[in-house]
Symmetry: C2
Subunit: 101 residues, 2 copies
DNA sequence: TATAAATTTGACAAATTATGTCAAAATACA
DNA sequence: TGTATTTTGACATAATTTGTCAAATTTATA
């Protein structure tokens, strides 16, 4: 089960690119990209979009991984994590069904 | 499908208490409690715990509602909301299974 | 080994978001 | 009406996020 950071690192290493290069494209210091890849920092939505473009992967796949990482971060060290996620799921489904109302 | 705000408002109105009173117990301005009840502000974890104590309801029930509200807030206006929630769920389950490793 | 490239670390700064106060406006109702 | 309650919005403060920078560490290779 890869985190988004793992995925990004693999994409970068497959192309044998240094942090410096990809970080320059994202317009951030390489230190941040290093931390992102190792899960010490969360990328912004914009950075994820840019990464998808850069590595030519589906934007949505990366965004789903990014969002789910944020959710996990939000519930971690809460023992009711699962219940909260499931309830949130119900709420989202409910809202989708009654969208706009 | 009640939000946490709805629940709190009902609890307060059942006891016919003004915002002022409950807000004083929480040690915040009544304006904030008003916004919390109507979903314009998110309460802090500590406030939720205090509310559970104040209204004599299960702390965990309120916390699950609070956490799930935060999750919904996090994914709202993302069309991959459901997918992200489901993936997050898998990750949490995976982490629980391999906890500590 | 040595030295150059790449990565990681941690202290700090800047920007953003969260949380709160306050007073005035709006609403409910005796 | 007048009084209590609630809501609104401008603003201040606190906390968190996002970033830079330089030094330390690790990795690769001449």
């Amino acid at each position: 089960m890869d985190s988004l950071g793992d995925t990004i690192r693999k994409l970068r290493e497959d192309k044998e690119l240094p942090l410096r290069t990809v970080a320059a494209f994202l317009d951030i210091d390489q230190a941040i990209l290093s931390k992102i890849e190792r899960g010490q920092r969360k990328p912004t939505r914009e950075q994820v979009v840019k990464l998808a473009e850069y590595f030519k992967v589906k934007e949505n796949d990366l965004l789903v991984a990014w969002l789910s990482d944020k959710l996990v971060y939000e519930v971690e060290d809460e023992d009711m994590a699962l219940k909260a996620l499931q309830l949130a799921e119900e709420k989202v489904k409910y809202m989708a069904k009654n969208k706009g109302k």
